[in-house]
Symmetry: C2
């Protein structure tokens, strides 16, 4: 079913059908009705591919996500959902590309086949080949996250540095003198994953500012790792009374280790960090944390990308979001751990 068939059956030219649909030039009411009747009868819908070829744009955004093998975190999923949602609101479709690893062909198709009008890139490393590739392609793109050269691209990001720094300050205010940062996995840190590095930076800075002793550990992104990691921390360091973390996935295990050590939260031990709001509230006790604004970030990324598509020459824009820390139930005044508390 195509526009020619509709034209033939309504006894008009193809262009008349096109104009009747787009309204870009007046069509006699009588003609319009006749055309509409045929369209309704045959259930005609214009072919999006042909329209895209003609117009030179696809009304589709590419979303480059981490490959499925590495399980997406709650937060990353929040981004995907919010991007798709924001795009749908703007009547744009979203083409998903699991990049990295074995699926470079998928990335390459999206970037170089003109299948999309622009790209949103997730999980950006401090040094990231995909950013270089996209810059060469001249395809408009926006990062959720950024590289070590922030000015080379447009991005939205979470200000982990400020957030973790805020956590340390909050804990210091409560009298904690020895605080641990439980970071993301050692692999991610080694790979130059920005959030992990910036969390480190904020932690170190704030600890220095407050004269607090800080311990940094990396931890894989799962509950089991969180548990063994905190067990080790508690055993090694009897003076430790609080943890700040950006590792949401490991947190259930961390709670378990604390509980196993006979420590009450927040009576004996405080824990805080960065997490999705719903998730933080579902914990027990609910987590004092900076609530990650996934919706907001995704929506902003889409909006920024739409603008770049419209005016590619525009200077790059950056948005660093640092939501306030929501006080809930997991932080309290420091209290020295009794010897018996240790594992």
């Amino acid at each position: 079913m195509n526009i020619g068939e509709i034209a033939r059956r309504s006894g008009v030219a193809r262009s008349t059908v096109s104009y009747a649909l787009s309204g870009k030039r007046p069509v006699a009411e009588e003609t319009r009705r006749r055309i509409q009747a045929v369209i309704d009868e045959l259930g005609y819908q214009p072919n999006a591919t042909a329209k895209a070829l003609k117009e030179g744009r696809t009304r589709t955004l590419g979303l480059v996500i981490p490959p499925a093998s590495r399980r997406l975190t709650d937060l990353q999923l929040g981004f995907v959902a919010s991007v798709v949602d924001a795009a749908a609101r703007a009547d744009l479709d979203v083409l998903l590309s699991p990049s990295g690893g074995e699926h470079d062909r998928s990335f390459e198709r999206v970037v170089s086949g003109r299948r999309v009008d622009g790209v949103i890139l997730m999980e950006i490393r401090l040094e990231d080949d995909r950013v270089a590739r996209l810059r060469r392609s001249r395809l408009p793109f926006v990062g959720i996250g950024h590289t070590s050269r922030p000015d080379e691209m447009s991005w939205v990001d979470v200000d982990y540095e400020t957030l973790i720094s805020g956590c340390v300050h909050h804990l210091a205010d409560l009298g904690h003198r020895r605080i641990a940062l439980v970071n993301r996995s050692a692999e991610l840190v080694a790979a130059g994953y920005g959030p992990a590095h910036r969390a480190q930076a904020g932690f170190t800075r704030a600890a220095a500012e407050r004269g607090v002793e800080g311990v940094e550990v990396c931890c894989a992104d799962d509950a089991r790792a969180g548990q063994s990691c905190v067990e080790r921390l508690l055993a090694d360091d009897p003076g430790l009374t609080a943890i700040a973390t950006i590792n949401e996935a490991a947190m259930p295990g961390m709670f378990r280790a604390i509980e196993r050590a006979g420590l009450a939260v927040p009576g004996d031990f405080s824990i805080t960090g960065v997490a999705a709001r719903l998730w933080a509230e579902s914990l027990h006790p609910p987590l004092t944390a900076a609530d990650m604004p996934a919706d907001e970030l995704g929506a902003h990324a889409v909006e920024m990308l739409i603008q770049r598509i419209a005016e590619p020459a525009t200077p790059h824009r950056h948005l660093l979001v640092a939501p306030p820390i929501s006080l809930r139930g997991t932080t309290g005044p420091a209290r020295p751990r009794k010897p018996g508390d240790q594992v």
Copy 2:
């Protein structure tokens, strides 16, 4: 940069460039090299939109997901990831459409604009308008889930009925005489959500078969709801010693309620159900459960869809997956609850 430009610069016809790239007809080695040199120099990539128009297919699959407003469960996310992954392996791209609610335009674009070669539909209701719409469109599609008329479409699904029935049998074998089914939310049940209904059916059947007393409750998909739901169950029914559930999201709260009631798992109380493997293992104690094979289902759905696209006239295929129950740490022999155990 288009094929004409490459042809001009290499001093050959457009068709020769096309054939040099596709290999569909022999091209003199010398010519081929000259063309390749120009292509490399200019970084030419064929325009996927033009190719799609010419070939009549887009090499893209549509994936219809629940809208972002309703948070996706771990399992649903597993489907998305595995579908995207399987599609990438077949060199197919995936177009995401958050359907239902406010985004019907997105669904309509995907279905009727010939933007995709086929569709995978998630979260199917027993009566589902989208299935009817897709059938009318004659676009090949495969469901993850199915309607009340299984034969009208191709699908893959989880056999919740068999799984929950298996859970009940397992609990009955352990001597439990009063068992509760914690189902998904009342809204979903009312909306005719298949898995919820089939879980009900399997529960009722197995309870009858074993002469066990079964209690059914609906529960919203979050930890808080799980907690209050189980608190009520324990208070109302002192004889209750075990729970089977398909509500993964509510489970942390359910554990909390059991623990608060002073009951040990699995010593005093057993709990089992259906959940993602990684998730089940991360619980404490690890959950005895049927491990949801999200990867497998997604991959099968893609494979089935590819086959339907190739041969649309083929009879519908169905795949019902019932993974075995993995014995872990949350089920044990029934033991009468002592009066003091109750809340």
